[in-house]
Subunit: 209 residues, 2 copies
Amino acid sequence: QNILLKNDLLAERNRGFFEAKKIMVFNMVSSPGSGKTSLLEKTILKLKDELEMAVIEGDQQTANDAMRIDKAGANVVQINTGNGCHLDSNMIHMALKKLNPKEDSMLFIENVGNLVCPSLFDLGENKRVVIISVTEGDDKPLKYPNMFQSSHLCIINKIDLCPYVDFNMAQVKQHALQVNPLMEFIELSVKTGDGINNWFNWIRKERKS
Amino acid sequence: QNILLKNDLLAERNRGFFEAKKIMVFNMVSSPGSGKTSLLEKTILKLKDELEMAVIEGDQQTANDAMRIDKAGANVVQINTGNGCHLDSNMIHMALKKLNPKEDSMLFIENVGNLVCPSLFDLGENKRVVIISVTEGDDKPLKYPNMFQSSHLCIINKIDLCPYVDFNMAQVKQHALQVNPLMEFIELSVKTGDGINNWFNWIRKERKS
Ligand SMILES: Nc1nc2c(ncn2[C@@H]2O[C@H](COP(=O)(O)OP(=O)(O)OP(=O)(O)O)[C@@H](O)[C@H]2O)c(=O)[nH]1
Ligand SMILES: Nc1nc2c(ncn2[C@@H]2O[C@H](COP(=O)(O)OP(=O)(O)OP(=O)(O)O)[C@@H](O)[C@H]2O)c(=O)[nH]1
Ligand SMILES: [Mg+2]
Ligand SMILES: [Mg+2]
Ligand SMILES: [Zn+2]
Ligand SMILES: [Zn+2]
């Protein structure tokens, strides 16, 4: 457990750095393929005239996601974790030196696609956003509770696919509230844009508070 | 790395146990919600008069999946890993004492939904089967290579949803073959039954060899 203690100490250091530069930081977590990068692409395209955004990408291998973010128009650094299954605060600390994010800006950290291990590693973020897609099933909050317990917002993505899967929207929320009574929810489809304005407004609300 | 060495030694012991009792063992791995349990439910219902099957279930929390397997009609033991993100050979060793699988039978191990860590932990299985659903995107074999490298068969599930997602079937296979030139593929939909006979025949083929 010494690893977690070391991680948490460095996470606080990151948090101090973000505070000093007035950078709002979201840690985006999900299963592989829930739509983290797709959501960030649309977010950058929509808000880039309104606020300064940068992204740190985490994946075992490839720079595929960073290339998509770069194309959407935001500064981005790719971290490859190799056998590692999660980002840790030291990786973020090192990436910040390369990224050099601007003052009074927004930083999105897209974590490795994994509903288990990233939940144990504080990165120094303000908010943790867990994305679940309707195609994964409505039982995930109970089966992978740590991630939902430690998140502030739960985005339910790919609602355009609801007609084709047995996914109970009320049930998934009830399950998530069972492990985290303070959880907020946004239902959306990155593909069709349905509900995505609620996400943009949630970002604006968080930046004001 | 001492953890991996200890795990591999015990995996070989499991392998010896399986050999002695002529038990064919598949380690089923995937992202959360790709359809592991759904596939096993259909497999048990279809093949239960043909062969003796048992299941070991792995999840952070709940016995949900074990209850589904029990309902389908196979002996099952649920392992809850808590903060753990993967099954290891000691957990299997202990579960076997409870499950007491029959001679000349089939054992499915449904691992924790996670495309990263389970790839490093040999359990003593004969074959490793990775399931990817078309809703996750076709880039996963390159982004999460370890799991595809260490698997023998790649099942592409939820093909009934192909019309609604941008998923390139040829591309996902090319990516998987890039990291594992020996990979075999089966396209299917657990929901509609499309292609599922190819999975049943693959099991039959493996049992004969
Ligand atoms: N139908 C539908 N597909 C979507 C939606 N959002 C994302 N997708 C698809 O889902 C797949 C995965 O999307 P990504 O954005 O790459 O997912 P990710 O969470 O970043 O994946 P990793 O970084 O590999 O964990 C892609 O094929 C997307 O086109 C949606 O709202 N509806
Ligand atoms: N449309 C469609 N949905 C499917 C198919 N197979 C499974 N599903 C759905 O996908 C969701 C997840 O299925 P599960 O079988 O629970 O997935 P799993 O891999 O066992 O999930 P975990 O054990 O939590 O990792 C459920 O809502 C299923 O109904 C399919 O072929 N087509
Ligand atoms: Mg991504
Ligand atoms: Mg399951
Ligand atoms: Zn891990
Ligand atoms: Zn792990």
